[in-house]
């Protein structure tokens, strides 16, 4: 095994381990965990203890721990209330004060906080506690939530050259592309975390569809026990390769997560032109899509209503829209950050405005709201259940339905969500304290109707029996397909705000349930993997990577040949393109030159 291990830049020659079996790899790669772990006083220092003081007109919300955006040192931060917004302020003895908007509305913060529930922790940690959080990730026994969605990066190659991206192979200077056996090892490691092993995986990159063996990867994930397999892709290969969508579906892929930052070429220069073809091919393959817009103030915030309407227009194939308020990567001056920064309540309010009040702020609930469903099923079955217990500030969601007039009707208009959750909590408590579980279930079924007002539901749900059957199947039969069926009749709207160095909060990361598995088998919360990349993502991927020359020699390919060049003219000529946006925007009003300029400005060259 060739490796050169220096304190700062450990490296392994990946070609020396690429042909090992997954069992052989386990013995090899785990040796390097200690080498790759962050090092105190090398990677970070600790200055916790003294919290920043509050100023006039500010109220205390809470204290927390957070890294300095410049040197990663851990400091005490204060979450404070000012003019009904929540801010985070921290002072690094070396780099001074940082203040950032943490949550755009204090009332929403308080309303969501009431729903916080914690998970059962990690009973089988991969790493012992030897350092402060978040420099000890792996997961360690501080962690409170199980993996709800596991991410596995299968390549850092990408066919796009987006101006803001720093970690695709060409920019990084190496190719990270674990072997199939290595991927199997990683997926196995992630499922060793008890009490509830991961059952949902997202295959990501780079651009995962650049791998020729992507279908095998999906198949391996299924073989390793992942019921839900989704692909995180810009989708360009899917736009031009219908067969690929079919093969992915047949291999067991459940859904495609695809970037979709807006409805115009100006707001979505990444894949505006390809999206209609991607959806068309997914439709033909019967493979669902979730649209994933990154929301940036002053860039595409004005598009959120149209994005939702676009999702509904394609609801036969679009299962959800999962918006992500921007996570500001790298070191950005305050003035610039203020132009971009947006938080969950800000997006919620904007959606209310842009949907003319059809989706209101009170229709949204934080992710842990649904934890009582898991608690109830757990009480019934006596087994730990999949549960969503991330920090209340990390995510929010609702479901919308629509009627013939295309008016959107959030689920909260005809289901008393709070009443149902309270009832389930009470029933779980009763069962745990010895009450007969069958009687408790019957009691729930008899009372469920009280919480549903079908007269306010869309027409197709006005049969109370039909609607209650959905809920019965999910709660009592624990029937996953029931959830799927429910999904097909509605559109999931989600908001997931990943942190960055400026608004980082250790109490959030300890509850994170979106994780990455690393090539050494550690399982890392999303917001340490991506927010402290030099300590986690980049360090580990670089260690288990090929030099670019070596990879090109091994594969007979060149990275420069993979760059996507867009044929705008051809893409906008087709009916598929025009029909996809019909009723959402007037595509004929956009001059061809604007299409070209938007694409080029973003970093995607155009055939002219």
């Amino acid at each position: 095994m060739e490796s050169s291990l220096t304190e700062e830049h450990p490296l392994l020659k990946y070609s020396t381990i690429k042909d090992l079996s997954s069992d052989e790899l386990e013995a090899v790669v785990k040796k390097y965990i200690q080498v790759l772990m962050p090092k105190p006083n090398v990677d970070y220092k600790v200055y916790i203890g003294k919290a920043p003081e509050l100023r006039e007109g500010e109220g205390l919300v809470a204290y927390t721990l957070s890294p300095c955006p410049n040197c990663y040192s851990l400091v005490t931060a204060v979450l404070l209330r000012r003019e009904n917004k929540v801010y985070e302020r921290k002072v690094c003895p070396e780099h001074g004060e940082f203040e950032e908007l943490y949550y755009g509305d204090y009332d929403t913060y308080e309303r969501f906080k009431r729903w916080q529930e914690d998970g059962k922790g990690v009973w089988t940690p991969h790493v012992p506690i030897t350092q402060f959080c978040p420099y000890n990730c792996g997961l360690c026994s501080r962690h409170k939530s199980h993996t709800a969605l596991l991410n596995i990066a299968v390549t850092n190659r990408c066919s796009l050259r987006c101006w803001y991206c720093f970690f695709y192979a060409v920019k990084a200077g190496y190719v990270y592309e674990p072997s199939l056996n290595h991927i199997r090892f990683m997926l196995r490691e992630a499922r060793k975390v008890l009490p509830y092993p991961a059952v949902a995986v997202q295959i990501t990159g780079g651009e995962p569809l650049l791998r020729d063996d992507i279908v095998d990867i999906v198949r391996i994930a299924k073989e390793e026990g992942y019921h839900h397999v989704q692909l995180n892709t810009e989708g360009i290969r899917l736009a031009f390769d219908h067969e690929l969508a079919v093969k992915l579906r047949e291999a067991g892929a459940n859904v495609v997560y695809t970037s979709f930052d807006g409805v115009t070429p100006y707001t979505n220069p990444k894949n505006h032109w390809e999206i209609p073809y991607i959806l068309e091919n997914l439709r033909r393959a019967r493979l669902g899509a979730v649209l994933v817009p990154t929301i940036i103030k002053g860039y595409n915030l004005h598009d959120v209503g149209a994005i939702i309407r676009f999702g509904i227009k394609h609801a036969d194939i679009v299962r959800g829209v999962n918006m992500q308020p921007v996570s500001i990567v790298g070191r950005v001056p305050k003035k610039e950050r203020d132009k971009l920064r947006i938080t969950i309540p800000d997006v919620i309010f904007e959606i209310e405005k842009q949907t003319d009040g059809q989706i209101r702020r009170e229709d949204w609930y934080p992710v842990p709201t649904v934890a009582p469903i898991s608690r109830f099923v757990e009480a019934l079955t006596g087994r730990p259940q999949f549960e969503l217990t991330c920090h209340f500030a990390c995510g929010a969601a609702t479901y919308v339905f629509w009627d013939d007039t295309q008016e959107m009707i959030p689920i909260t208009r005809f289901v008393d969500v709070e009443g149902v959750m309270e009832m389930l909590n009470k029933a779980a408590e009763d069962i745990r304290s010895g009450k007969n579980k069958y009687l408790s279930t019957l009691n729930i079924l008899s009372r469920l109707g009280k919480y549903v007002d079908v007269s306010k539901a869309p027409k197709r749900f006005r049969s109370k029996r039909k609607f209650l059957r959905y809920i019965y199947n999910i709660l009592v039969k624990h029937d996953y397909s029931a959830l799927g069926e429910f999904h097909y009749q509605s559109l999931f709207l989600g908001l997931m705000h990943f942190m960055d160095l400026y608004n980082y909060d250790v109490s959030r990361v300890q509850r994170c349930e979106v994780h990455y598995v690393m090539p050494d088998g550690r399982v890392i919360p999303f917001c340490t993997f991506n927010v402290l990349p030099e300590l986690y993502r980049d360090r580990a991927q670089k260690f288990f990577s090929y030099e670019i020359d070596e990879w090109e020699k091994l594969t007979g390919r060149r990275l420069s040949d993979e760059v996507y060049v867009r044929n705008v003219k051809k893409l906008i000529e087709s009916d598929i393109y025009r029909k996809a946006y019909e009723g959402i925007i007037d595509v004929s009003s956009i001059p061809y030159e604007d299409h070209v300029l938007a694409s080029k400005k973003f970093g995607i060259p155009v055939i002219e």
Partner: protein, 151 residues
């Protein structure tokens, strides 16, 4: 080798209220008997935070970050006892009060160089009846069940 014990009472306001109190005793295991450790006490310091997490992260789902987040402006009322160990095996007994839950939890440490390791620990999230746990601990350390129960 030094061993740390934590005695504390904390009221957490954020993100939800929790009232927690823990007192800890430690015993050296020798020849099938338990010998209570003599320790020196002092106030908690941030340098104890990692040991605190090691002790209570998985046991009662409480970390130093939770304490920082939850206590607002109130000082953290925690005493740290440092105990010198000569033997190999140590039994720790925790009297725990978390809201309405009151119980006794156990952990067993193996005091090997360079770091001591925990070979058994209860978790409030996955707690078997005390009798079962006492039996398990008793077998593990070779001490009669009665002694473990009374510890």
């Amino acid at each position: 080798m030094l061993l740390k014990l934590f005695d504390f009472r904390v009221y957490l306001y954020e993100p939800y209220t929790r009232k927690i109190s823990v007192t800890t005793r430690a015993y050296e295991v020798e020849g099938g008997c338990l010998h209570k450790l003599e320790c020196k006490s002092r106030q908690f310091d941030v340098t104890d935070a990692i040991d605190f997490d090691l002790e209570f992260g998985s046991m009662i789902q409480l970390t130093y970050a939770d304490v920082v987040f939850g206590t607002r402006d109130e000082p953290f009322d925690c005493t740290v006892s440092e105990c010198a160990i000569k033997g190999v095996t140590v039994l720790k007994v925790y009297e725990v009060l978390i809201d309405d839950f009151r119980g006794k939890l156990f952990s067993v440490m193996q005091m090997a160089q360079p770091y001591p390791s925990r070979i058994y620990a209860d978790s409030a999230e996955n707690l078997a009846p005390q009798k079962e746990r006492v039996r398990k601990v008793s077998r593990l350390i070779g001490v009669p069940e009665k002694l473990v129960e009374l510890a």
